[in-house]
Symmetry: C2
């Protein structure tokens, strides 16, 4: 048994009953005391549906206030929430439901069919999230404390090889993650964080956790919508937004010549290396971008740039947060190596998989620390291209490609080559109305990159393959080679 | 073994090497990286003196930067710091050194003699704090992690009966206390906390902990000095000060007709119930006073008024902080009873004493919760006067006495009485130049208090007996009865 703390939603409802817990762009608003009452009543409904303490309850749904209510209800019951990605096929969902030993499945209206398809061959029903009516307080006992060592959520991550694995998060992982971020970014009375990331990924989920740990209002979007998010930042007293690169790009287009209000103090940018051209644009518009590094296994951020270095260390993901260790495996400062982490926000392991040896987590990401100890994330280990013995980091090549006028975004991956082992290949999405030739791209690269880093082929595609958290899936790029043709 | 986090001073030195860690009113300044280096070098000196991991090292000293260095050095060694009160006699110190199983004693120049006297009959030397010269980094291994379950400090508390007991604080107690305060008061980039409380008491010590957990500059006073503290608030960008009532009174005298700068955002007021007349004065001057409730056993604050209720719930110590429980023993809301607490900042127990039964700590303090759940601390259980079956809370009577023009401060305690069991007796310190008669005092009370609460005697004294943290020692008041005479 670990350290126990009062149930965090009970606590916020006691401390700030009238304070807004969640608001939505279409004007819905729920206070901490209302959120608590609703979540407890839904917890009773879960219990009446047969959900027991410690059982695994899957949820397949888009972001909504009801999603948040469900998440808190699960904590009142003491069950474990298995959060499923809404972009998955029914076969993928079926795998996760079986692998995670799920005993109850909930889905919102839009996803109830795919959920039902996925459990066809199992002895499971799918309940509609919207049908979870609130029940009166009754004889069932709800959790009044949270044990920081208890598992609360499971989220699947694809890992480097093989089947997806369920990352187990304890209450403590989420608690320490929220606290670590508070100690880095500060906590102000007027903070209001906008979330447009899916709640079934740790990036979005962690904002829901910050809201309930800090007692902070959360503006919850169903999904990213550049215009809506832009307008909220401009008019709705938003102080923080979490984004990935592609979202930041869209927001930059909306901002045009303006700047954000003074109270907007953090654009938290995760999801991997960022092309330099975008960082320069944000810098020119004085947007307080904080690059951050984290993954499902670290319950969101584990390193983030501190406010005071936001501009002087542009491009860096900063340093490991207060209660975390981070080092580069066996390398001198400045050299690239695998990023290794440890801390109370790091998951103890994967469900139903062998336990991790030792306390440290090998992230599978490559990075280096500069002379002042600031982390620069270079790439995924698995995305590394080794060509004639030289390392090529796709993100570096993509950054150069993205800076070419007319290029909207670019992806780079390796293709087998008899002589060099692998050679880099570029996949480019052009701006609307722009026209580029392969020669222009090659010339641009040759001026800016060592010869071995320059793409040997250029393919023009309509969209880069991304996962539900908008991360570029480089290994899928090669399937686009067939579609190629000059733009 | 508990959760382990990177050594907090290493972490701050890595995150913000140049940021000020400690400054003093006379212009001394040390950055986090300097503080780290110095503390590590002093840790090596401690090891060379024979201090081993897990051993108990006593310190008898006034506040200074070297005090802070010593505290951090102890954590690098992994020893336990036994912090002695400088107001104690050598006999009292001898008791604590023996009781705490101390193996090494350090004292600053002003206290080295009393420390030496206290160990005369023991096989111990006293080392001078100032002679702890910094040693070069060497082969000894220092702690790079802190285990939140390890004991870090011991401080003596007098308890309600019998000999003083050493409260054991783990790293986790101090960590969770600092985090709990951050989640309540917020953390801003410009925060700078002034400490004028003794570091050997938990109120002062907790500010040193906040500094190293938040990476926040601390302005360290050797002791309270109304003029110095006032000037620092006015001119030195101080944002927070921790005080007890008597200090607040002195500061109010200095402020006269002015107000504090806008950036000053928290006067944290602890140390027991506060006369209403003082709270009204602070309210009139728009001083952001946050009444707080805590004790050595709770590693400082466990309940504090939230900023948004600073004025509407004047006089309340607020609600239990985010990771803490607090309730009033077996009473309806509104009724007075003993305050019971639990949380990760609560000490697991006393050194060398039987373990506490259960998770909850009985505080020995009396309080009630109002209709909105806000805590009002009424008095110490042991100070309660029971007269003819009625409860009299000395603090309530003192509050009425303090509001009488000409009264500087007042203390009330019980005296045995054949008919009533006990009756209240007042001890009054008059303002300079003021003159009052017993009749005036009696008349003032009779108009404002039920008859049984009115003092039966009035004694005029020069100063109220207080302990080193300036708490009123009511049980010592009766020894002043002999000195009485009209003022």
């Amino acid at each position: 048994m670990g350290e126990r703390i009062p149930h965090w939603l009970d606590k916020q409802a006691a401390l700030h009953p009238q304070r807004t817990a969640i608001e939505t762009p279409d004007g819905e608003r729920i206070s901490f005391s209302e959120l608590r009452d609703k979540s407890r009543k839904v917890a009773f409904a879960l219990i009446e549906n047969g959900v027991k303490r410690g059982e695994h309850v899957a949820l397949l749904a888009s972001n909504s206030t009801m999603y948040a209510v469900f998440i808190h209800a699960v904590s009142y019951v003491g069950a474990v929430a298995v959060l499923l990605n809404t972009r998955l096929t029914s076969a993928e969902i079926a795998y996760q439901i079986e692998d995670a030993n799920v005993s109850h499945v909930y889905a919102d209206g839009r996803h109830v069919q795919v959920a039902a398809d996925s459990v066809l061959e199992m002895n499971l029903d799918v309940h509609r999230l919207e049908h979870l009516t609130e029940r009166k307080e009754n004889l069932y006992e709800l959790q009044t404390d949270l044990d920081l060592d208890d598992v609360y959520t499971m989220m699947y991550t694809s890992g480097t090889t093989g089947n997806p694995k369920a990352v187990m998060h304890t209450y403590g992982n989420h608690w320490h993650s929220a606290v670590a971020s508070a100690l880095n970014l500060g906590v102000h009375a007027k903070d209001k964080w906008l979330n447009c990331l899916p709640l079934f990924h740790v990036g979005g989920f962690s904002i829901l956790m910050k809201s309930v740990v800090y007692g902070m209002p959360l503006m919850l979007f169903e999904k990213f919508d550049a215009r809506g998010v832009h307008e909220a930042i401009m008019d709705k007293a938003i102080t923080h937004v979490s984004v990935v690169t592609v979202m930041l790009q869209r927001l930059l287009e909306k901002l045009e010549d303006g700047t954000y209000p003074d109270d907007f103090r953090c654009m938290l940018l995760g999801g991997g290396p960022v092309p330099e051209v975008i960082l320069k644009k944000t810098s020119a518009k004085e947007i307080p971008v904080f690059q951050t590094y984290g993954m499902t296994e670290t319950s969101s951020q584990i390193a983030t740039l501190s406010p005071e270095f936001a501009f002087s260390k542009l491009g860096s993901a900063g340093k490991a947060l207060t209660p975390a260790h981070l080092y580069i495996d066996g390398k001198e400062r400045g050299e690239v190596g695998e990023i290794i982490v440890r801390g109370p926000m790091v998951s103890k392991g994967y469900y139903n998989r062998p336990k991790r040896e030792g306390e440290y987590l090998r992230t599978g990401d490559l990075g280096f620390e500069d002379e002042d100890g600031f982390l620069y994330v270079v790439d995924r280990v698995k995305d590394l291209i080794i060509s004639g013995g030289e390392n090529i980091y796709p993100a570096e090549v993509e950054s150069v490609l993205s800076s070419l006028p007319g290029v909207r975004e670019a992806g780079v991956t390796g293709r087998p080559d008899e002589r060099w082992g692998e050679v880099p290949v570029a996949y480019i999405v052009v701006e609307n109305g722009a026209s580029l030739t392969e020669k222009e791209v090659m010339d641009w690269c040759r001026k800016r990159l060592a010869k071995y880093k320059c793409p040997r082929e250029v393919h023009w595609i309509d969209e880069l393959p991304r996962n539900a958290s908008n991360k570029l899936l480089r290994r899928r790029l090669s399937s686009f080679s067939m579609q190629g043709g000059e733009g």
